[in-house]
Amino acid sequence: MSVMLTKFESKSNRVKGLAFHPTQPLLAASLHNGSVQLWNYRMGVLVDRFEEHEGPVRAVAIHPSRPLLATGGDDYKIKVWDLRPQSRRCLFTLHGHLDYVRTVQFHHEMPWIISCSDDQTIRIWNSTSRNSIAVLTGHSHYVMSALFHPKEDLVVSASMDQTVRVWDISGLRKSTPNTAPGTFDTFDAFSTVKYVLEGHDRGVNYAVFHPTLPLIISAADDRQIKLWRMSETKAWEVDAFRGHFNNVSSAVFHPKHELVVSCGEDKTVRVWDLAKRSAVQTFRRENDRFWVLAAHPELNLFAAGHDNGLIVFKLERERPAFALHGDTVYYVRDKYVRSYDINTGADVGLLSVRRFGSPYVPPRTLSFNPAERAVLLTISSDNGIYELTNLPKDTVGEVKDSSVDGKRGVGQSAIFVARNRFAVLNKTTQLIEVCDLTGSVVKSIKPPVQTNEIFYGGTASLILSSTSSVVLYDIQQQKTIAELNSPPVKYVMWSQDNSQVALLSKHTITIASKGFAQNTLIHETIRIKSGAWDDAGVFVYSTLNHVKYCLPQGDHGVICTLDNPVYLTRVKGKTVHCLDRSARPRTITIDPTEYRFKLALTRNNYDEVLYLIRTSNLLGQSIIAYLQQKGFPEIALHFVEDKNTRFDLAIECGNLDVALETAKAIDRPECWARLAQQALKQGNHKIVEKAYQQTKNFDRLSFLYLATGSTDKLLKMQKIAEARGDPMSRFHNALYAGDVPGRIAVLREVGLYPLAYLTAKTNGLEDLATEILEDAGLTEADVDDVPDFGRASLKPPPVVTATTNFVWPAIPGGESFFDRALANGNLEAGAEPHLNGERAAAAASSALDDWAKDEEEQDLAADEDGWDLDAGGDAHAEEESVEGEAQEEQEELGAGATPGPSETEIWTRNSPFAGDHVAAGSFDSAMQLLNRQLGIVNFAALKPLFLSVYRSSHTYLSPIASLPPLELHLRRNPAESSLSRVLPVAVVTLRQARSELAEGFRFVSGNKLSDAQTTFRSVLQSLLFVVASSNDEAKEWRDTVTTAREYLLGVSIELERRRVAQEQPDSVQRSLELAAYFTHCKLQPPHMQIALRSAIQVFTKANNTATAAKFARRLLDLNPDPKIVAQARQRIAAGDRNPRDAVEIAYDEFTEFEICAASYTPIYKGSPAVRCPYTDAAFLPEFKGSLEPLTRLTEIGAVATGLPAPR
């Protein structure tokens, strides 16, 4: 036993009595000055004081199960107190003792209190009747202690008469004696002295039973502690513990181990081995004599009172040595190495380490080597030793002891640093030795700082903990990689992926990245006990009384409270695995929502954030405050019900709609004022107007109307001002409105004739001026000294843009991911995003991608708004409101009855495809999309398609009689109910387009070329509205477009050839060329055969036998009918006979070429060409900017972005 761990110390008057609370971290201490203190030794605070005794209080006890405290003092009184925090007071006082009361104790089950006194008696009191029920007499001197047996009906007492007595009180239980006062003598019959233990040479100060064994320990002024054993019939002295060199005040059994703890006036606390009766440890104090000792009934915790206060101490470290590998915890309990599988809960003993170091001391650390399945333990006894042992492969039969084949050595700290290496720190020599598994030293390191402990520091690295810093040290290069200032680091935890490390000190946690590059420091006022990493990268740690979390950037908070400290081993989802103070595996279920939420926020993993918002009950001021503080007021907005907070948040994130709504609900001038300010910033003058109206801020309202050029409203303001009888306001409005007669009228009315006159005069209103003069009782002559000011040029500025009708220029509505996702309060559960480990990063990046996409869409939406100048209804409503007394505003809507976003709006938001926008009825944006993506400019032909797509996407139903029917919207993903993902029905599908294409093929085969042309054109039109949902579909779409284009081109060429043949029979050359080009369109084999045969025919007719033969050869390659084969061979033969061409044509079959779809001339490879942005058809450069002749939809050569990626 090398340590006595002081947990708590207090300074006070001499402490004479001590009592632990059985369940709470409370300690009662009675003082020599008459006070009784109640300490919370965990928090280190004085909870309460009981001061009713006069003179020293020596006796104190806490009831084992009820909130009662008993004290006994030198005022002969025993007081019983209520311990409950809300009613701490003295319940009653027991009178009877005739001298100092030395000890009191509650019985564990009966309502009895035992006390002893210098009046040489022991009394037992019934705390219910509050009477003395027994007086045990027999001692011939002060009785220094009297205690119940923990189970049996026995009492042990110690006295200055040098004896220890055991009393049998079973009679007391059998029949409750007459408790009437004055029947003093009858008590004796119920309690008899069983044994008188003689042996001490001086007075005995204390005697106590062993909790389970038939043993008594006594402490006396003869400096000895004696151990007594008793049987049914007798009791005898077993042995004495000698060592104290002054009076021994008290001695107690260790509640768990075979130890005795004593204290005395020689200023020591001593620990003894119960079996060997030898001293194990001595703890000395300089000046303070010890007077009292108390053992916690459950825990490894003792308290000792001395001259100047008290100490609370542990005799051994409780923290079990453990190491985590995967989901298995290797730990030491009761000097056995055990493994605990946190998934299955299997808990097996693997190795005994009983003979490792002192038997009383548990190993301090354990390091596990999975490759070798070996453990490396250290223990602090014997000045620090380590032991390396292999764990058995299987655990059948008895577990072996590590002493059999373990390798030991000296060292205070030892850890595995590699599969076959471990490092040992010798603190005294300050040498770190790296050893192989046989224990031979392969490398010695002199650490750069005074090192107290070493930890694993990542591959080939060590973390060295010194008193003021922590060093990351490279073993191979023997140099310091990084150094952080920190209080002594006691524990080190690496995250699952070894990317982060937590360095735990007594009151601080440093979270550092792998190379100590970045780090954050967290301070705790309470002692930090342990910590473990969550799979998501959150560090969860325990203090004495809390489980807390800490995010990598330093945010931390409480997860739950703890009754007793625990040692966290692993955090998995909602479960925290830990070892309790007796090293038993436990689990604690926690709610990780808060930290997962915060983590997701800091990592910008908005999917996760959204998921958490939807699925969990995240509420409360703290979360709202957090969101606000972290700059996410718009998210906070979704949590808040309270309208004032909502308003604040809405203003902060500039969400004017919500702000307006809440301002209406609150309806207080300051809210309106703030709303006005914010709306003004955003340029939303309609809301500004509303706010001013609400607060009747006429001046500003007028100025606003001036600024927005709303002359009609200015006139109304003028009227209102008139009604209000406010000439200044009237004047203003008149001035703003440029209403000169109005101005004059005001001036006249208020009697400012000179101004009125001049105004009239300078504005050329001579008649009026004269009138004013008359009113003023003057004539022209009276004012001839007034200089001529000339014509006034004062006029309100002309309205250039009717700003009054637009909300413009507005700051683009910051509609975020969340607004959209949370639109409509639609918080139905979404799919759970992955969170764990590395996957989180991927999730975050994909969330970012989505984000980016959203941005794009927003742009679109914003554009739309730009076009969609909705100036109708709203402005109208407001005019009315101005008309009526200005304060009579529009009727308030029922609190939330503002219309929400319609499904069609959502569709347009959710999709970047023209087809979807058409279905949503947003033709405008659909056209923009088509124009931008595919360069469509000529929409006229698409009108029927637009309308039929729109028509087929909406239906109506009246569930309630006589009401207007509900508009319902057909979705293509009916199983999807999350508004952020709904999309309109696919009216035109790829399949339909392809079947239409097949129809075109039939027309080609049937030689109905103009029908075919129409059909292919219509296919290409339909394809514009197809929304591809996958990459395959997108490819198929492109293929279909290309096929349709080739056929359309081919058919058009052939039609042109026929036209040429008919209208310009002389132009044989052109006709031949076109026939040849036709064969170069990419047609399917059957159609290619038609093209070739037609070419052969035409060429043969023109006597171009050589080329005809070439076509025939190509025809043969297509394996046509035997009949056609025969014809083809004929042509080839003819060509061979006569290998020349009568007509020269522009046709070079050997060079690759495309056909200009406008001029039907070849564009040889390498020559410049411009293209149709939709079908990719090629054109000669001269056609750039013209309407594409095949589809007649696009502008040739226009820049287009192509279709967005399918989704």
Partner: protein, 313 residues
């Protein structure tokens, strides 16, 4: 507890079996059920587009608030006389029933509010309708709630609709109307793939005590929403045949949509032109026409370059 007759009448009314309700006789005027049944019968007439008949059903000198309200609605819907005066009358009635000494039962007051709310909603006076119906208050008038919810749905606030619905679930038990409400909410929100709505209409179709083509149409629409086009078509065809070949606007409109989504789009234009000519005021017709105009306007914004014609061919 209401009589089974009245229950039956209400059921027919709510489930849109207007035709059978219109054909139904009235009980003896002294009967307790006389007024309620008359109210529903008259409302069935209105709903069926036969508002003129109401004047012959309800004596013009009636003192009953509910009947007065119904006839006001009838004249509003029929468009006889000034629509504004009909609305004014309803407003007056709403105010009157708030009085303390008014001789009307709670039930009658409820009808007045429901009828007035209907009229206001038709007139587009959403706030007024909601206020009249007692939205956001603890009204226990299920008819009013039904209308409130439909109004909410029509202004795209399914969240509020659901809130109102959840509230009424607490007191309205499993009323038929409540189920209907739930079905309507389902239709708009698409919750669980429209399963609530679909099962509700399927269930009611199997209801032996009434048959209503409206239910078939409704299920057809639901199936359309579920993407079951072929099934929807068969429901709609059945509805047409139940209506004796003269389909109502709703069925016809749904048929247009169904045909437009079929693999072969034949017959669409024929159905469409029939809908457009027979029911020019149907919202689908109106909105498509409006969109057609918009199309021209928007399309005109794009400059069409000259067709690429080879110059020297």
């Amino acid at each position: 507890m209401e009589s089974s007759d009245l229950y039956n009448v209400k059921q027919q009314f709510f489930l849109g079996a207007f035709k059978s309700l219109m054909d139904r006789g009235l009980p003896d005027p002294s009967s307790e059920d006389y007024t309620p049944i008359l109210v529903y019968k008259a409302r069935a007439h209105i709903a069926h587009g036969d508002a003129q008949t109401v004047s012959s059903l309800i004596p013009s000198d009636t003192e009953n608030f509910a009947l007065k309200a119904v006839s006001a609605l009838a004249s509003y819907v029929a468009g006889t006389g000034s629509t504004e005066s009909a609305l004014e009358e309803l407003r007056d009635l709403c105010v009157e029933i708030e009085g303390d000494d008014v001789e009307a039962t709670e039930r009658e007051k409820g009808w007045v509010r429901a009828v007035a709310g209907t009229a206001f909603a038709r007139a587009g006076e959403v706030e007024e309708a909601l206020e009249t119906l007692g939205a956001e208050t603890a009204t226990e008038n299920l008819e009013a709630v039904a209308i409130i919810i439909q109004i909410y749905l029509s202004i795209h606030r399914p969240d509020l609709a659901r809130k109102e619905f959840e509230r009424s679930k607490q007191w309205a038990e499993d009323d038929l109307l409540l189920q209907l409400i739930e079905a309507s909410i389902g239709l708009v929100t698409g919750k669980d793939g429209y399963s609530d709505s679909h099962s509700f209409y399927t269930e009611q179709l199997a209801n032996p005590s009434l048959s209503s083509p409206h239910l078939l149409t409704a299920r057809g629409v639901t199936r359309l929403l579920r993407g079951e086009i072929a099934e929807a078509k068969s429901d709609l065809e059945e509805a047409v045949s139940q209506q004796g070949g003269h389909e109502d606007a709703e069925t016809l409109a749904a048929s247009v949509v169904a045909a437009g989504l079929g693999p072969k789009k034949d017959g669409v234009e024929e159905l469409w032109s029939r809908l457009a000519s027979t029911y020019p005021n149907h919202p689908l017709v109106e909105s498509v026409n409006a969109k057609a105009e918009q199309f021209d306007e928007f399309a005109a914004k794009y400059e069409i370059p000259p067709l690429a014609i080879p110059t020297a061919a």
